[in-house]
């Protein structure tokens, strides 16, 4: 079989998810042995045209030009996979979706008229069909590798659709919310990060976004019982995945 041709694309983002690919230091040469990197601007100035077997897309759509570019990428890609919270949910920059753009531009730029952006930061799926998503802010290296290995083997990638709590328990971490009263988004957040926050005694801050069917209302009730006020509860959901419906709706309930 020919090596699958891989492309990596960037939209509004911090580059961290692409970097996670380069951070697979131990596996990088194996990856390069198994796939053909046809387009990965951050890593290579060799640029090949499509079609591509898999396109990994990082970043959210925030400009009119990008909203057009993503269609061209979709058309050139057999499989389009979003990587990270920006591409999947609009990213931290989707925080501005609830605010007037003008105010924001003014807060940052002395000559706001020169800034041309769309009103909202939107995920890739709001523009084109997405075949798979890797969550996280940033994505997990293990999940990236698993996705590539699974794609090569023709296997369904093991991207569990369970809550962070499951990772907590498999890792043997005592629940920070129960044992400590620390607010935690774990019960409504998809697993996959590797149980990072609770393991250091910190509440999950939701960087993998909502788990399927997240019952945020019930969690908020618990957060409220822990003494968090509405502003603080809303802030918890308004993070890297504030653009995900389950989180944005729940945050809005607390405004």
């Amino acid at each position: 079989m020919d090596k699958p041709r891989i492309a990596v694309w960037k939209f509004a983002s911090c580059d961290g998810c692409q970097l996670s690919l380069l951070d697979c230091e131990e596996e990088l040469l194996d990856i390069v042995g198994a796939v053909h990197i046809a387009h990965f601007l951050e890593a290579s100035s060799r640029v090949e045209t499509g079609p591509y077997d898999i396109s990994f897309v990082e970043g959210s759509i925030t400009t009119a030009a990008d909203a057009e570019r993503i269609h061209a990428i979709r058309a050139a890609s057999k499989l389009l996979v979003t990587i990270g919270a920006c591409a999947t949910a609009g990213g931290i920059q989707a925080l501005r979706n609830t605010r007037a753009l003008g105010d924001l531009v003014q807060a940052v730029y002395p000559v706001p008229e020169l800034i041309e952006v769309l009103d909202r930061s939107t995920p890739i799926a709001a523009h084109v069909t997405v075949d798979a998503e890797l969550r996280g802010c940033p994505v997990s290296r293990q999940q990236l590798l698993e996705f590539v290995a699974a794609a090569l083997a023709g296997r369904k990638p093991d991207l569990p659709e369970v809550s962070q709590c499951v990772e907590c328990k498999r890792a043997g971490t005592a629940c920070v919310m129960v044992a400590n009263g620390t607010p935690c988004l774990g019960p409504v957040t998809r697993a996959g990060c590797g149980n990072l926050c609770p393991r250091v005694g910190r509440g999950c801050y939701g960087c993998f976004g909502p788990v399927e069917g997240a019952n945020c209302v019930a969690l908020s009730e618990q957060l409220d019982a822990l003494g968090l006020n509405g502003h603080a509860i809303a802030a918890l959901y308004r993070n890297f995945n504030s653009g995900a419906a389950a989180f944005s709706e729940e945050a809005a309930r607390h405004d």
Partner: protein, 429 residues
Amino acid sequence: MTERKITVNALARVEGEGALNVRIRGGEVEIVEFRIFEPPRFFEGLLQGRDATEAPDITSRICGICPVAYITSASQAVEQAWGVEITPEIAALRRLMYCGEWIQSHVLHAAMLHAPDFLGLHDVIAISEVDPELVTTALRLKKLGNDLMEVIGGRAVHPINTRVGGFFKAPDSAEIVALLPELEWGIAAAREMALRFARFDFPEDACDYIFVALVHPEHYPIETGRIATSTGLDIAVDAFHAHFMEEQVARSMALHGRMRNGSAYLVGPLARYALNRARLSDTAKQTAKDCGLNEVECNPFKSILVRMVEVQYACEEALRLARAYVPPDPPSVPLTPRAGTGQGCSEAPRGICHHRYEIDEAGQIVTATIVPPTSQNQPQIEADLERVIRASLALDDAALQWRCEQVIRNYDPCISCATHFLKLSVERG
């Protein structure tokens, strides 16, 4: 006179998106515009109304390549506003983690993104075909940096174990001790790599830069210090905005940093080295010398060497800190929010990263001003380009384009930081 035009739509091997316009007419460089058009993400606006304790995690998302820089500067700014002193143990752990970021980021840039320029190759994969050992060493070194960040920060990109006032949980001594052998290896490996890169063919170039960097009486500056310039300025971090400013340029999404008197300046490895060489370790100094670096190095193409010297230093420093590691207990100092303004500044791998927050009595951010390294360097990048193009007019279009890209990559520009795909269009007559 005819115009010469060279257009490169996407500059690769940089973090973010930008473009370059150059027009040359009759042997004269008419226009040099380094444009950053990475869509703006309005971090400073988004921070308004957020709890100041959230600033490190939010600003970390400005850049996935140097999150520790953002986390550190943001934490320091809030700590200053709230009058919090971190303990020496916490400070040491921060510096140790920051060493990890320097190693990771510098090796990524020097070996994987910049070295291909000197080798006439497109990427690190191409290097691995001609010099596999160089690549395996680079990957191992990079991993060492990531391991440091993971052990301390919990994750290499956007660490989670950091907080205003310190850390959530202090790593076990055993985990830190486990890094010692690799750090020892890293020192030698970084030196070898520096010497290997010193054999590259460097274009002749020099510039009378205004260097701006942190300075510290004892240490080569990483996570803390005063701000100094090669023109004699030596100020506290708080005075940054009194001497430096940002201006908006129509063609770019990033603000351009300048001295208040309008001159361009340079931050990053060359600047740090110029102002702090004396505080490098003797061994790192020796490597600098063996690489042929001047005491003040003014050839921007040699910044790749300074980076590797800094990698060696970061490994040495990390080794020292790791050997002396005492888990901070408690892992963070308690905080009492209050109204105030605080500033923080640290040396991101690409240069100083300055944060200023105005916080209200509820502990919420009223205004935020973040000055990342790449926007500060932007005017200087344009100046470098103009100078280099003028000296390289004999080159054909392809070679000139390559050279221009290389000039930009000398800066390891993190366009995401500056707000960001580089488009290069060179027009010449």
